[in-house]
Symmetry: none
Subunit: 395 residues, 2 copies
């Protein structure tokens, strides 16, 4: 529901996102969080409430975009953060309204025009960066600007800027090797000119890269900046992030948060929050290592990442937020080597949050917590309420 | 949400539906499932997850149609399987697009035109079948075909076939004795001609049955075949049923499943699945006896039916499905002699499903399981996810 008519000034909220926090118990193992030694998270669970949250819908494995939108209280089925836009914000590229962004892969075509390697042998930066520089110099379109930026190795961001662009253009990336690249086709009549510009850029890119092992840029996920209401508009919050990774800083900025000076460690993240404590109502702290270990299938690494976060929590608690949330944008069980649809263990702590009988933080205890099992996007209104920021509804 | 853009090939799913599985604890008794001796279901519960599902909505007692639609992932408030259509599929009547079907009761009118017995003394087949044969011979409409088929005893299926028919016609069945039959009225202007055809058929039926104790056919539930998207369209599944009863085989066929060769016992149901194991991604096994005992108020019979199903489950498990679901289309507590609104105990088992602490299968243990308490229609996306059939949503 729209909360704007109920907003009033109130206390401070800290949202700690352990990326990919959730796990999956199996015959051999408890989840990583259940197994980790987390005295500080356990104490917060004991003094607050716990539960399990579902970021998008039953059975749906969220990408980072939808997972974070849900944590900030946005229904990820209503609001979108597409691949090209996430790439752009991840590079701190100044994407503007009307720009069309796409993810490109430097790839290898054989003499028959068939894709033999979608990543050009995972071409290293020292080889890729000069090629990207060459594209910047040589690819020139009529009536539109074109930008290229490296996202590391074979990954390239392409952005078109001009009047009347439309992102409804089909991928040129065939998605698998052994096939020819596809033509960029308009998926809507309004996108005909944009498709033509993409085709023209594609031809120039092939000419510029001819003879290289990376002799094509396969494009996918054409996208434009969707207008997202800011957390200030929706919740009346002055909000800031102390995320380390550009993508999460970028997502926060898209939602109207300030990205505070770049921290390089969990300690610096907390120190940056402390420094700016009086200037904001809402802080978003993003912890990446849990998800990285999940992707790598590194069980001990994920446990270590959780314990690392646990060790930092007393400092967060010492800031005395009115509401402290610890959750994740999705599960990343190490058995599955990546994101999954399993629910995410969550705790909420603060003087007006309430308490339940759970005194450990982990999936099997969260199952019986007072937050229950609910959509992730309900955390934000609960936090606003517990921070005293929502007036009574109706007389 | 629409899953079609996320579908990918994956593993096999088996859905075991114990019809009317749910029960109701009271001062005297645990539920039938709690009381039954079910070592195999308990083992699946211990190794997988459990929960309670609600087929339609809080407080709603589902018929078999909505209960099954929900199990197959269709919102039963959005999709309909009306009475006439269920009757037709139950009789394996070849109902076609545009046909209008209704349930008829052979009934008794007195000399004042008042219904004195809505079931004509539960007229036996040997008396009813010749009357139905007489209706087939004598009732003739201009511009439309009319079909009659026995559904046993006083129950008759009536089907109209022709151009431009519309099922929005009011019942002629007054619903209780001591009243006159109602006129068939159009409930929408487009149904005027259909209502006229029904009135004409009614007059001819009365003429044909004059002097019999069953001297009228009371009609209700006019309905047409709603186009239902198939499970293949929605989920990319090659699906089949090993149901025994025609109605469940018919419902499965309406959703694009193949009805495999007719089994006559639980053992034959499993054997048929085994035989066709490689040809399908999804199998629907329907177990009827639990519901029959519920209707009869036969507590021990329902316990026996549950234990019978339990004994067959090791064979199902030996097929090594990627996901095995055991649930019901609704509750049928023996105390209530029929369907009820109570939630349905459910288990989901498989290598990617996860685990919880529940180690028995029954309502009181399912209450604490990791599936939580959720709408029945969420089981299908969860099963697709655990079978590896859903790609990540968003970047």
């Amino acid at each position: 529901m729209d909360l704007t008519s109920l907003l009033q000034p109130g206390g401070k909220i800290v949202l700690v996102v352990a990326d990919g926090l959730g796990g999956m118990a199996d015959a051999q193992h408890a989840t990583e969080l259940e197994e980790a030694d987390t005295p500080n998270l356990d104490r917060l669970a004991a003094e607050g409430t716990t539960g399990l949250v579902t970021p998008v819908a039953a059975g749906i494995t969220p990408g980072s975009g939808p997972g974070h939108l849900a944590l900030f209280g946005y229904d990820p089925l209503e609001y979108e953060l597409g691949r090209g836009v996430l790439s752009a914000v991840g590079l701190e590229f100044d994407l503007r309204s009307g720009d069309v962004a796409a993810r490109g892969n430097l790839a290898t075509l054989d003499e028959h025009g068939v894709v033999t390697d979608r990543r050009a042998g995972r071409i290293p930066d020292e080889e890729a960066l000069p090629l990207i520089e060459r594209l910047r110099e040589q690819v020139q379109l009529d009536d539109a600007e074109v930008f290229f930026a490296s996202e590391a190795a074979h990954r390239v961001l392409l952005v078109l800027r001009g009047d009347g662009l439309d992102p409804r253009v089909s991928d040129t990336d065939p998605g698998e090797e052994g096939r020819q690249p596809a033509a960029a086709e308009p998926l809507h009549p309004d996108a005909a000119r944009t498709a033509q510009l993409v085709a023209e850029a594609d031809a120039q890119i092939r000419a510029a890269l001819a003879g290289e092992r990376a002799n094509i840029l396969l494009l996918r996920g054409f996208d434009t900046l969707h207008e997202l209401p800011s957390v200030t508009d929706r919740y009346g919050l002055r909000a800031a992030t102390v995320a380390i990774y550009p993508m999460y800083r970028g997502v926060a900025r898209l939602l109207g948060m300030d990205a505070l000076e770049q921290p390089h460690s969990l300690d610096e993240q907390v120190a940056t929050m402390r420094k700016h404590w009086d200037d904001y109502d809402f802080f978003f702290l993003h912890h990446k290592k849990t998800d990285e270990a999940g992707h790598d299938g590194d069980r001990q690494g994920k446990i270590d990442a959780i314990e690392g976060l646990d060790a930092a929590l007393p400092q967060v608690r010492d800031l005395a937020p009115d509401v402290l949330i610890v959750s994740g944008d999705h599960a990343s069980p190490t058995q599955l080597h990546g994101h999954s649809w399993h629910p995410v263990p969550t705790l909420m702590w603060g003087p007006r949050v309430g308490r339940d009988d759970s005194d450990r933080f982990g999936e099997r205890w969260c199952l019986h917590g007072a937050l229950g099992h609910r959509p992730t996007r309900e955390l934000m209104p609960l936090a606003l309420a517990a921070a005293g920021r929502l007036r009574k509804y109706g007389a």
